[in-house]
Amino acid sequence: MKHTIQCDIVSAQEEIFSGEAAMIFATGSMGELGISPRHAPLITQLKPGPVRVQQADGEEAFFFVGGGILEVMPHLVTVLADTAVRADDLDEAAAVRAKEEAERALQDQTGDMEIAEAQARLLEAAAQIRALEQLRKKGRR
């Protein structure tokens, strides 16, 4: 009988670990967790902290996660790690920043400047093309 369980640790930006594990330790929102094979199905939020995986060959792998979700299924354990440290007030601050950014972008007049500049460039380019055509005509004569 199998004494290991498939364990996948991923974050939104990369796959962190994938392999057979004899035991997995993590910090759940309600306390420390140790998961062995044939653990009951469980889903929990993780607190920022280390995740330790005892691999089948006895070696240990350490990872730090900034929080996330741990799911235990009969045949596998999945850790969805957050790359960022998340908290409600931090998220709120980020949302406020994004709103302010929008206001700033709206007031920012550089957009119109860019259009004016582009138009000037276009006129210049058109004049150059005209000049070139004239030159070409002269050349043919």
Binding site: V10, T44, I69, A93, G111
Partner: protein, 287 residues
Amino acid sequence: MAGGKEITTKIRSIENTKKVTSALEMVSASKIRKSQDLMNATRPYAHMIRRVMGHLSKANPEFRHPFTVRREETKKVGYIIISTDRGLCGGLNFNLFKLVLASIGEWQGKGAEVSLVTLGKKASGFFKNVKVEIAAHTSDLGEKPQIEDLIGSIKVMLDAYREEKIDLVYVVYNDFVNTMTQKPTLEQLLPLPETDDEEIRDIWDYIYEPDAEALLDTVLVRYIEADVYQAVLENLASEHAARMIAMKNATDNAGDLIDELTLVFNKARQAAITQEISEIVGGAAAV
């Protein structure tokens, strides 16, 4: 000599432009691969979070999260528009904006309001001239976008959706099909489409820590963020590909222009020499 000097100056200036465009082309070509790697690195997460979501919804068929409930009437539509920060990438952004404008027009025709979240400078620059509300904006995501840079903008949309100020959210980005093709794509983000593929049919349940609803909420928010993040990466790869193509065309055009100008220059030189000789001959005959 008719305009000989001007033509050489012109040729030299075009040669310089050509150097710049071919350098940009090579830079973009190398960046495509990097952004493709980033794109591929996010796939396992998307796959696994979808699996967890599937399990959760199987275990709680009676509980409906607001994110999964279709609203009867749509009063306001939200768009998360992903654009580039920089230009020189052909019609990439503009094709995307045309798609958005068409969709906005359609909803406004039905009497719905519109609210935008823009990512990237080009989108905010374009849509501030259109009479619609821009709720949030983020730019300067760089070559390696981080998910934490997106959280704020996404939260603005999610909060508005939760408070029922917005009833439908789209995400709009350029899908990276391959180096030659980037497809402007409009995807419905909220309410989430139904997921009903899973092999587990038995009745079973999890142990929840802390509780099912809070967990489902967290998983859904993460899922949406991962989805938008993936779209940002697709758009980044598209940007580099489009820029590479645009710069390749520019380089080719510059080459053609140089060839033509060289021909013009040679003709002008030839004409000047002929004229000079005939003047000398004419002068000699007169003497």
